[in-house]
Symmetry: C2
Subunit: 338 residues, 2 copies
DNA sequence: CCGGTTTATGCAAACGTTTGCGGTGTCGTT
DNA sequence: AACGACACCGCAAACGTTTGCATAAACCGG
């Protein structure tokens, strides 16, 4: 934002015409004579004129920018989502401002505030693990800035959202373990504060119930990180609680479990089978390779952005909130092969 | 950017005072009486007034926004960098606009253009693999917007930059392989168009030379992706070109090599040792775990941003361009243990 | 030669802020 | 009574655009 940048006024002064004429000439307005247009456009080219998007935003009350609130960028899933977002935003000529909450509620609130101040035209949000109050998000709606939630949605707020069918995916993952003969299946789950944590657990429970396998509270642990998984599995083994399958809420967790299990001398998948969730880059490179649910991060990003842009463009005619459910495919690999 | 948002004028109208008074009251200017301040601040609070950052940017000719050009977000290294960038930008009250070039030159040029139009106060860039013309980047400098390069820097343009000592890291990695008794070490390298590709290869060559091992062109392949690595290794083995070590230009490449080698029946590290580069999340979860160079992505992001902010803040007094070199630590793991 | 149309341009306001400067009104002081 | 000091506030311009409206010149037909 330096003084160096050429403005319309500069062009006008140089050519001894008014700023309005320059403005119109630049966008090929029919009112302007061919010679003037040529002169203006040539000068603009020569001086490398770049329209000031800030001034435009102010004038049009439209920033052509969307905001993204994301828990943590350094996750294969989330960075895929960002990639998808960026790609469709780019095609539509929108900028994207990224804010990471680092899984902290306070920071998420601050993020929301700055996005509002930046007058973004809409926001894409996935809430942090610790967010239980949603005023800062409702605030977007109160100010008519459209919001679409992706992946980690919030329960009581009507807005567009794109999610995967966590319940069904978890059900199928667990079902897959059952089909391969496992009966004592541990679940390393996410925080119950998150809908996805809840849903995945419910899917797991449904599969058990359907198969007539009683749920064992000892086998259900809230553990959603590499380290927590190691601890949890270690504890199970040390307490001599038997299990022959693990359904983990994400891949890193699954891998933590896998390594601990192997270190303790058990064979995967022979003695214990493992299924993860998210299907990141990891899944293909573990030994054995990891069965996982493909969460389609990139696709989720593109879809969410398309929905948001649609809201932004057709801002006048209100239509009911949509919920898109991506079906999550179970990718069977070595860790659960029968 | 909806009409709904409260402005200073709204507050002024409501209180029957002027906009200037409101503005001053909000920032506790001494000219304003306590009662007025109280009234204004209370109303602002009640109506949830958010200052319009766009208007401010225009006025101050300063957007408090930095732009980032990044090759591909979905890489552990790059997403770490972004995370670092975002964290220090957040602390300094700056927004960050992310543009990914997707490794395409044209897109990078477009990115540069929109960042310029958005009047970002500075840019952080890592060039794409195919960028050989730098006009779009010099353009930033011509317009006095500071630029700092990270990781993938460009040769002939003076600007701040933060890199890791690729040459030295590659040297040490290769040296490590030599020290463990390997003499026929293959190099899966990056594109020679990139300085880092060049430097890593040179480091590799230096280590060989120093040890009196002749470089074998057959063992040097440009392969910087999982798939290319598989192909390259497959080819080496099929052609019966013997090797007992691999130094790969990144972890995914190393893992591609590792898997192919294992699939062909060779033992790692016993028969063939492997060293990667970047030390992403992968390194700890392969079997065996992967020796790799820690590239310190997060740190690189924070450092680059600090340098940029310093330039932005102290814009008047020019100081010479700085180059910070992060030392990259070799993390020895299972894939190269003697 | 006059009224009317066309063509090409400029004026000014607006978007939401900030800020230098000037203008009130109320004191206290001599 | 007059004057300066002080406290408090508003005017207006500016940042870089866009756009409705007015204006000016040129042309045309009758």
């Amino acid at each position: 934002m330096k003084s160096g940048l050429v403005t319309i006024k500069d062009l006008a002064r140089e050519l001894n015409i008014s700023a309005s004429t320059v403005s119109r000439a630049l966008k090929d307005h029919p009112d302007i004579s061919k010679e003037t247009k040529r002169a203006v456009q040539e000068l603009a080219e020569r001086l490398n004129y770049q329209p000031n998007a800030v001034a435009l935003s102010l004038k049009q009350r439209r920033s052509n920018t969307i905001g993204v609130i994301i828990p943590e960028i350094v996750h294969y899933f989330f960075s895929s989502v960002i990639s998808g977002i960026e790609d469709v935003a780019y095609d539509a000529g929108f900028n994207v401002i990224i804010c990471q909450s680092n899984e902290r509620y306070e920071r998420e609130v601050a993020n929301a505030k700055t996005l509002l101040a930046s007058r973004v035209d809409g926001v894409l949000v996935s809430i942090s693990k610790h967010t239980t109050d949603y005023k800062h998000l409702e605030n977007f709606q109160n100010n008519e800035v459209p919001i679409v939630f992706y992946d980690r949605v919030v329960p009581n707020i009507v807005a567009d959202q794109v999610i995967i069918d966590d319940f069904d995916a978890a059900y199928r993952a667990t079902r897959h373990l059952i089909d391969s003969g496992r009966t004592r299946i541990a679940h390393l789950g996410g925080p119950m504060a998150l809908l996805i944590g809840q849903n995945r657990k419910d899917g797991y429970l449904k599969a058990l119930k359907e198969a007539g396998i009683p749920a064992d509270e000892n086998l259900i642990v809230e553990a959603d990180s590499f380290e927590k998984a190691r601890m949890a599995i270690m504890k199970l083994i040390n307490q001599k609680i038997k299990f022959d399958g693990v359904f983990a809420t994400n891949d890193l967790t699954a891998i933590g479990a896998m390594q601990t299990i192997q270190k303790k001398g058990y064979k995967i998948p022979d003695e214990i089978a493992i299924v993860g969730f998210s299907d990141g880059r990891f899944s293909g490179i573990t030994d054995p390779t990891l069965t996982s649910v493909d969460q389609h991060g990139y696709e989720m990003g593109t879809l969410a952005t398309q929905m948001l842009l649609k809201r932004i463009i057709s801002e006048d005619d209100e239509y009911p909130a949509e919920t898109k459910v991506l079906n999550a495919d179970l990718i069977v690999r070595g860790s659960s092969i029968i």
